[in-house]
Amino acid sequence: MSQRPTLSQNAGSQRKPSGSNPKPRTVKLDGTSMSSSAPTKAKRFDPLTAFATQPISSSEPSRAKSGLSKSAKGKEKAPAKQVVDLTAMDDGEDFLWVDRYEPETEAELAVHVRKVADVRAWFQEAMDGGPSGQLRKYRRILVLTGPSGTGKTSTVRVLAKEMGFEILEWRNSISENVTAANFDENIYDGETSTYPTYGPPPESLFIKFEAFLTRASSCGNVFDSASSSSGKSKKTPSHRVILLEDLPNILHQKTQASFHEALIALVNKAPTNPPVPVVIIISDSGVRGEASDERISEGRGWNRDKQVIDIRTVLPRELLFNPIAPTLMRKALQAMLNNHFTATFSTNSAAPSREVVDIIVESSNGDIRSAINALQFACIANKTGKKRKRDQSNALVMEAVTRREQSLALFHLLGKVLYNKRKGDPPNASATAKDLKKEQDLDATLKDPPKLPAHLSHHNRRASRVDVNTLYADSPIDSSLFSLYIHQNYTQYCNDTDETDGVADWLSWVDSSGGEAWYQANPHQFHLISLGTLHSLPSPVPRRSQKAYKPEFFACLQKEKGAWEGVRSTREWLLEGATSTVRILSTHDPRTEIDCHTHAFGLFSLGSCHATVNFKQDDSGWRTGGWSTNEVILELGGVLKARDITQDRSISQRTKPPASHRSFSRMEFVRGAESHSGQLNERDVAEGFVESGDGWPGLDYADVSQRETTEGGWLESDDIEDCD
């Protein structure tokens, strides 16, 4: 930016608004310094005074060229005007519209009014303590989650401006003296002891982060003075907020733990005056396909963060931002367009047509950032090309270019597969005329499959309306999770056992296909599952208000983990009884302890009289191999039960089996107690699911966390008293 020459003011002097400074001056393309040099101005750029100028020589050719094209189009424009326009546009294009038209008032935000109100209320309570004045203690951390581009950060910034608090933002940065290798080391160790002493060990990123947190939350003066010295703001805002958007690397176990500690410490500390609440912003980006790296990192990052929150469920509040509704977004985009075209006076480049805006809105999937970028692109694209075809071709181009890889909602994905729509299905009763037309059009494009020979006639199906390749491309979940969802729900869509048999067999086959190692996994799992399910389900699937459920699989795994704990402790209890006498001995004998450390049992010679004294043969029932887990699980039930019943009479405390044995030994058979692990809603995202490649096969689905609804978790002022 600094290389850019200063603005030659005369270039745009004709168009310059009369109120601005007439003297030539240097304008850096930096928002902060801009506002410092011209504090009366709003942060928004005036494109005519702040544009990045180009040397006249370099802008010459482009001007000529565009002049040519313009004249070819037959537009009558004064050359001088064109120059202005061009430079003005150049300047404008140096900025993304996203930054340029960042909302400044609540009215400009495209976020739902209630969400903004929620955040505002939270801030108010955090600053002033709410009506009772006590809430301040409990409003320490706010977590904003939601898909990217839903205005999380903007909301905070706008509110900061409106409510007059300052935002202290953490940014991960690697200082120059830390090389990549050291950086890694520091991240992993979290301490500098292993670092070779070539000089003062560099601070690890995380230590800096911690320092930032403590400083920012406690000693405000430092920051105030720093900010005032840089001339950022003359008037010190009375309140500050810490914004954590760029989190330190919390994927690593150790850093993550210390991150949690830092947060908890922050929460536990008595609030300073004025309080400094922390806002954490987490974008939960959709996870899709087989991108396992992404899945693991995203899944972990997200879950771990939830964990932080879960520890302190009472304290922080989580606000979920929904994707921005199309109507809201259209309004916002239109407002921005008006703004843009009035501001730049660019009368010659027409605003994109309504259809283009519609396409953008539709394809952005509620991501306003991507929508604005697309819109800017559309406006640039508009300047070239013929007027006639423009709208039409634009629509196509926009569709091709701006369509974000939209992920199908999980709910719809399941619906598509499980409803098994085929060519020529009778239309839905609630279908509108438009839907019918759509269906017919679709059917017209589908080719009928060739007739199968007689001996395969039972495999005859009409052509499917479901395109599995598209499904695969748009699926928000990977095939393993997909199979679980299908498994949980398929029975409702079947009429009789033959159909269920078909689906179940496919699921079973796909699960067992492929090799043992992860890299031998069957790459066609998704297709096989969906095609197999489609093939097996009846056609048409009868509608009987089926509901989609989340898989019970994870709840079961969690329970199994708990039961394994019970097995372990029961087994220890058995072994304890068998080897107790010997154990006491070995802790008394120093040589045995040495032996324990070397782990080679030949190293220590037998023959101390100690051993013969303490060794009681009759008491300790010793047996090779002890008890295997299977023996404990399968055969011990009766004895454990008997012991449980009689323990109050004669058996001493020591001989009591651990109570946790009931988690595997007791099973009551109850009919009709079906438990569903929760219904799937349209806006639900797949649950956290991290499959680690190694380890205990069934037990390693770590991080099985259920997304909780945002409602209900938050503390109101009247139930504070109970918590104290």
Partner: protein, 356 residues
């Protein structure tokens, strides 16, 4: 505390109650000075491990019963820590590799190498070698078995391996050929009666013969089960007279009820109900193969002759898939649905020509 089954376990080859011939052979092997690698196999509860420990005592004397339990941590290449419990004396070490899950090869290799490279230091020891006992050898992975095969040859001079397994079918041939195979058959009912009477005498009461017969009949040749049942019964009704009801373990009763569910109705809704029960069983740590086997046996008991073969065929079929696959519930359920489908078709007398 000790369970009777641990407390009254025979400790020497001479005091074993049955399989005298086997005991004699073990005794002479132990004294011959040319002790081979061994593989003990037979049904569970037959007394394999008891014989192994008696043999050890014969080899090394009572010092072998001075045990300590040690927890070793192994580090996998992916830096995952695996904790394995080791029971060891000065003369032998026991490992259950299935505790290490998928990383059993690593555990086996590390441990055996370490043991094999240290000489027996105790000059008073009767044997120049140490013994490694590997429990549940039939659950060893292929990799681990391959690793074992090399070690068995290489370190023969100062180490012997004793494997314990239910069946030899899942051990690779090179391992079988390097071991002396010892089959420990399940005891006959007469032998079991004797043992039960012995246990009762040691515990200080008289066991009525009817009760003994009933327990033996119920236990199906599993000595450990019989003694556990005896202890549970004695605890519940101290006099052991009158009509005895031997309660089956909860999980077994549960499996039987699931089988009844399958037979009584065949519909997608019933599939859901059965699935909930299967989840329940799985979450109680019951091994899926046992679930499948127990339910299948019960179902076979109840259906028509013509269906039995098919049901067992599919049970075997899905068990294989279950071992290969990762989500057990899919395969259990696929079998359940298959049985339902078969049963329904049979019921409506539909030709099942497409089933092989």
């Amino acid at each position: 505390m000790s369970l009777w089954v641990d407390q009254f376990r025979p400790r020497t080859l001479d005091t074993l109650h049955y399989h005298r011939g086997l005991s004699e052979r073990l005794k002479s092997l132990a004294s011959s000075g040319d002790f081979p690698h061994m593989l003990f196999y037979g049904p569970s509860g037959a007394g394999k491990k008891t014989r192994v420990s008696c043999t050890l005592r014969q080899l090394f004397g009572p010092g072998v019963e001075k045990l300590k339990i040690d927890q070793r941590v192994f580090l996998t290449p992916s830096k995952r820590k695996i904790e394995v419990n080791l029971v060891q004396s000065n003369y032998h070490i026991e490992i259950t590799p299935s505790e290490a899950g998928n990383h059993d090869r690593l555990v086996i290799q590390d441990l055996l190498k370490e043991i094999a490279q240290t000489q027996q230091v105790d000059l008073g020891a009767k044997q120049r070698f140490k013994v490694v006992i590997i429990n549940e050898a039939d659950s060893l992975s292929r990799d681990a078995q391959a690793a074992l095969r090399r070690t068995m040859e290489k370190y023969m001079s100062n180490m012997r391996i004793i494997l314990c397994a239910n069946s030899t079918s899942r051990l690779i041939a090179p391992i079988k050929s390097r071991c002396l195979l010892m089959r420990v058959a399940a005891p006959s009912s007469e032998e079991m009666n004797n043992v039960l009477a012995y246990v009762a005498r040691r515990a200080g009461f008289d066991l009525p013969p009817e009760a003994s017969d009933k327990i033996v009949e119920d236990s199906g040749g599993n000595m450990r089960k019989a003694i556990l049942v005896l202890e549970a019964l004695k605890m519940q009704s101290p006099d052991l007279t009158g009509p005895l009801t031997i309660a089956k373990p909860d999980w077994e009763v549960y499996c039987h009820k699931v089988a009844d569910l399958i037979i009584s109705e065949q519909s997608p809704a019933r599939v859901m109900e059965v699935r909930a029960k299967l989840y329940e069983l799985l979450s109680h740590c019951i091994p899926p193969t046992i679930i499948l086997k127990t339910i299948a046996e019960r179902v076979v008991d109840k259906v028509d002759e013509a269906l039995k073969a098919d049901i067992m065929h599919w049970a075997a079929f899905y068990e294989v898939r279950m071992r290969v696959g990762s989500k057990k519930i899919f395969h259990l359920e696929a079998w359940v649905v298959k049985v339902m489908s078969l049963y329904k078709h049979f019921f409506y007398n539909i030709d099942m020509s497409e089933f092989d």
